[in-house]
């Protein structure tokens, strides 16, 4: 789960890391009031969950509250990479002596959090690591044992930082590591961490991401401190009717799992796909062979006939869908015959001929013999695991292109 910058700032602040005075605003008037409160020149930043804000005109500087209001008005209307801003952040234009980078990431290989520090902040840390490796310090911390300031100090000292800078940056990195662990983050970054003219350190920008699975146990932070609604999906767009309907079908029946997305899909081949990474592979396989998927979906976990039927009906009900491809990698707990019943039932309930409507059925695995009997009865083309996912996707594409010709 990604956090907006204003939320990340709050998380950093809650951990005891100094931040500059800031204001999260949803209107131009609020931005003006925030600029007045802060005093002096400010920076107005779009609150979107995407990069490239600066380039897109989503970060601007203002010398007066009136100018801040005018810029906020402009930025609030500005869509960046398809994202509508949640608001703007008004920040003082700080007098910075030096910029640093402090971060903690989850190291999947070591299975421990990894602290990172650089005395070259304000730019992409990966670029620094590549071009100036001696300016990046690293150190793992335990998943269980208390995190000491000394561990953070070693990481910072590795970049050559000494003296009062070392002493002042140390608690920042140590607190960042603690907040990372306490809040089940997968990423916690302060970039830039600024040393101001008076020698103090403040977080000028922060970026946080939390493990999705931890949302339940982090309610105190999410709903309490940050007032994030449980249904806030963090999607940059409003869910479509298709997406909402698929979600409703999924929630109404505990058996199995279905998901459907159609944002950005406008093709004619509906996809009822899933199993162990199968959905991504199959969507790619369809696209790479010239097919135009009408949606993305995931089905698995041994769904009921009703659930498989519900998903297939929703896919078939999408405008422009001519056929569906029902494909998975290899299933073990999901039953092939149950999915076959579901998708055939969807066709029948919509008065469609399953043989014409289902371009290909490729789900090898549990109960496939029983599934094949059902598919035989309705004349649906199917294949077993001897036909690769790529080939099955190709057959579906060829069929729909043949129908187009």
């Amino acid at each position: 789960m990604r956090f907006y910058e204003f939320e990340s700032r709050k998380i950093v602040e809650l951990a005891g890391i100094p931040v500059t005075e800031y204001g999260f605003c949803k209107t131009a008037d609020e931005a003006k009031a925030a600029a007045e409160r802060i005093g002096g020149p400010v920076v107005v930043k779009s609150q979107v969950l995407t990069g490239g804000r600066m380039k897109a005109g989503g970060v601007k500087f203002a010398d007066s509250p009136e100018e801040a209001a005018a810029l906020a008005e402009e930025i609030l209307q500005l869509e960046i990479n398809g994202h509508i801003p949640r608001g703007v952040l008004v920040d003082p234009k700080a007098q910075v002596k030096q910029e640093y980078y402090a971060g903690v990431v989850w190291d999947g290989t070591a299975k421990r959090p990894l602290m990172l520090f650089s005395d070259m902040g304000g730019i992409d840390i990966e670029e620094v690591a590549e071009k100036h490796p001696d300016h990046v310090g690293r150190g793992h911390v335990s998943n269980l044992l208390p995190i000491s300031d000394y561990e953070a100090k070693k990481v910072i000292a590795a970049t050559g930082v000494t003296g009062s800078q070392l002493n002042r940056a140390t608690p920042v990195l140590a607190r960042l590591a603690r907040l990372f662990r306490d809040n089940d983050m997968t990423l916690a970054e302060i970039n830039p961490l600024a040393e101001l003219e008076d020698g103090s350190f403040v977080a000028l920008d922060a970026h946080m991401e939390m493990e999705d699975e931890a949302k339940g146990r982090q309610k105190r932070l999410l709903e309490g401190e940050l007032s994030i609604e449980p249904e806030d999906t963090r999607e940059p767009y409003e869910p479509s009717e298709f997406e909402r309907s698929v979600k409703a079908i999924d929630s109404a029946d505990h058996r199995g799992v279905i998901q459907g997305k159609d944002h950005g899909f406008e093709g004619n081949l509906g996809l009822v796909i899933g199993a162990g990474g199968g959905s991504l592979t199959l969507t790619d396989a369809v696209r790479s062979q010239g097919g135009k998927p009408a949606n993305y979906s995931e089905i698995g976990g041994n769904p009921s006939v009703a659930k498989a039927c519900g998903l297939a009906k929703e896919v078939l009900g999408k405008e422009g869908v001519e056929k569906i491809a029902v494909m998975m990698s290899i299933v073990s707990n999901t039953r092939v015959d149950i999915v076959a019943r579901g998708v055939i039932k969807a066709c029948l309930e919509l008065d469609k001929d399953p043989a014409e409507t289902i371009a290909i059925f490729r789900i090898p695995g549990a109960w496939e013999e029983e599934g094949f009997k059902i598919l035989d009865k309705y004349g649906v083309e199917y294949c077993d695991r001897s036909v690769s996912m790529w080939e099955a996707a190709g057959r579906a594409v060829a069929k729909i292109q043949g129908a187009e010709a």
Binding site: S304, K313, I338, K373, K377
Partner: protein
């Protein structure tokens, strides 16, 4: 979504009258079926038509009833679950 719901497309389940009326067997059928195909109504076992296509062919109902008391027919190949 348009289109009417169809029931009993793939599976047909039937209960002998005498078996359905046996309160103990009726309760057992309701208990064993993992997909709620049986319900006891007025002390009699009945088939819940909208659930029949969910039958997972586990055979528990056949075991719970005396021989021939419950029939599960697979309509797609016209065979009876033993």
């Amino acid at each position: 979504m348009a289109g009417g719901d169809l029931y009993g497309v793939f599976i047909e389940v039937s209960i002998e009258d005498a078996v359905a009326s046996d309160a103990a067997i009726a309760a057992k059928l309701e208990e064993v079926c993992p997909v709620d195909i049986f319900a006891v109504v007025d002390g009699k076992a009945t088939v819940v038509a909208e659930n029949t296509d969910e039958c997972v062919l586990c055979g528990l109902c056949i075991e719970a009833a005396p021989s021939g008391g419950v029939t599960v027919r697979k309509l797609y190949d016209d065979t009876i679950l033993e």
